[in-house]
Symmetry: C2
Subunit: 333 residues, 2 copies
DNA sequence: ACGTGTCGCTAACACGTTATAGTGAGTGGG
DNA sequence: CCCACTCACTATAACGTGTTAGCGACACGT
């Protein structure tokens, strides 16, 4: 009665129920065009339950040529609060579509991309960074149906990019433009986040142009009070003077706030600052930080939808509503 | 020449090289007890290269009964900066041992645990939270060799727990004890992190007892300045008065700092605060936050080592050095 | 000349699953 | 009585890999 090896297979269930492996498969998968007597159906189900049968994903994947796993590839730069939340939302959204979302954290010196998807055989790959062309073609050749590059502004439909990083910068700029004549952009001191930071700064630039404001003054702001104070000094000395700062994220924004304090200045009186992500620290910073919050559940739904559709062979249904961006207004701007 | 379906198999390589599939397997896996002519070896290698052959992980897993994937299970509470970093370090550490580390974010309402490991067939599972017994036995029955519960203080060897959360609290307490007579613990306002917060608070308690200090005053501190101000008031009104605060993490610590500011008080003069994680915001808070930083690479190495050893059937070599805890001392304490 | 090895390779099976073709029993119609 | 047909199920062929047994060819010692 006890199975030979550790693993309980469908053959074990079949033996226990006194039927063939095929019947077990029909029952457990509810195969439509197959009639199964209620009696045997119950025998199979109880047998499976009793033995604790768990179908082998590897065998299934081999048979189908595709697993139900969606592989998320994280970039190698430090992950903030929003990234963690987005991963959670994606996990939920994919789970609701019968897909298992797992994440591999890209890290310098770790395995190459090809080794990773070879080891997982995912149905789709979702990346925060663009792939190399050779990687992309290799993956398609290996039968991975969908490859979506998150935040890839070079792709087709650049303007109507699903998660338009542009919109974030634009929202920051529009809020500040109500009471400020010249804006600055606080750029992160990490080359690796350029994929994100570039489009966001561009969004600020475009919004300034639309609103008739002068070109924003972009400065790199490291995460120390001293360095941030230097940037603040330069902004205040600029001509025309910069009094409103769009920061890449809350961390950079809080660094700008620290630079202000270092100089004995105060937000928003001397300079207004607005961040992105609404991280927990933003609510308790000095002063409390105004921040842009993305519709992460909406974004997750969007990606999950498009991946699901692509896997089902359906055309990319782009009739989905664009996820909205919200402003959490506090004291800093 | 072009393979029938999208996927390039070892049979395609064999055909291209004019040998059998077995020979291809021998060459590509460097099978030791098999002699292969240098000429055919080269023919096979070039053929594989030319066709872009990628072995199917599913077939391999099916054959071996085990994949080279280590599945990390994240809890469903919000992930901070340190969690992201630990994931990156784990990814690197496992990659160095020929294991692919992927993470599944646990989230309320998503798929059940069993569905996840069934879909992945991992060699090992690494969890931040303890499993239920039924899950654990089911996984072992399915051939998953190793199950390590991270931060599980109930397991065997509780005192010498690999990543002793106790030590973090103790380090906080010892630092504050130099200049404070009564300590408080700032507990997070989220029941889900109790697995972490409990042991850390216990560490503070034990250290206080060892140092001859009175029992620490544990208070829940939500992430708003008002609520934190209430907690600060209570601490200052306590008897004996509480003047040193160990916070669960940097976010809670910064909330305490905000509470102090709200009351017109100042750290460390009126109350010293110390956090955990050394998140980027800690360096630019007001005042800059003293924080405990864990040896995340060391922790990752430790877990990767123990998983590797267990997979190789070796006994758990516990001669590894304990990862050290470091204090980043700034102005807040 | 003939057994005995060794060399270099191939044929074939097993892993666990799903889907297709097929099979024996029963039933109804002519 | 026999053909046709449904019913409920089974046998079997893949999916792509790693591995064991085996096989022809050749060398060698006697």
């Amino acid at each position: 009665m006890a199975p030979r090896s550790g693993r309980v297979t469908s053959a074990d269930v079949a033996r226990e129920a006194g039927v063939s492996r095929a019947t077990v498969s029909f029952v457990l998968n509810n195969t439509q065009h197959q009639k199964i007597t209620e009696a045997t159906r119950r025998r199979v189900l109880t047998a499976a339950e009793k033995l604790g049968y768990a179908p082998s994903a590897a065998a299934r994947t081999l048979r189908y040529g595709r697993s139900d796993v969606v592989l998320g590839l994280l970039p190698d730069w430090p992950l903030g609060y929003a990234a963690g939340q987005l991963v959670q939302e994606l996990t939920l959204a994919f789970a609701n579509r019968n897909l298992t979302f797992v994440v591999h954290s890209g890290i310098r010196g770790a395995r190459s991309l090809s080794e990773i998807w070879k080891a997982i055989t995912p149905a789709a790959v979702l990346s925060f960074e663009p792939f190399s062309d050779s990687d992309a073609t290799a993956m398609r050749a290996a039968g991975i149906e969908v490859i979506v590059a998150l935040y890839d502004d070079k792709g087709p439909g650049s303007d109507e990019n699903i998660t338009s990083a542009n919109a974030i910068g634009a929202a920051q700029a529009r809020h500040l433009a109500a009471s400020h004549r010249r804006l600055g952009y606080a750029y992160p001191d990490d080359e690796r986040v350029a994929v994100f930071a570039g489009p966001r700064a561009d969004g600020v630039r475009k919004a300034c142009a639309e609103l008739g404001l002068p070109e924003p003054d972009v400065r790199t702001v490291p995460l120390t009070a001293d360095a941030a104070a230097d940037a603040v000094r330069s902004w205040l000395a600029a001509d025309p003077q910069v009094t409103g700062i769009c920061a890449f994220n809350d961390d950079v924004a809080m660094s700008v706030l620290a630079g202000l304090r270092r100089l004995g200045l105060e937000a928003p009186r001397d300079m207004a600052v607005i961040g992105v992500d609404d991280s927990p620290a933003a609510a308790v910073s000095s002063p409390p930080l105004t921040s842009v919050v993305q519709d992460l559940p909406g974004i997750a739904e969007l990606y999950a939808n498009s991946v699901r559709a692509a896997l089902d062979g359906a055309p990319a249904t782009s009739n989905q509503v664009e996820p909205r961006i919200r402003l959490e207004v506090r004291e800093s701007a």
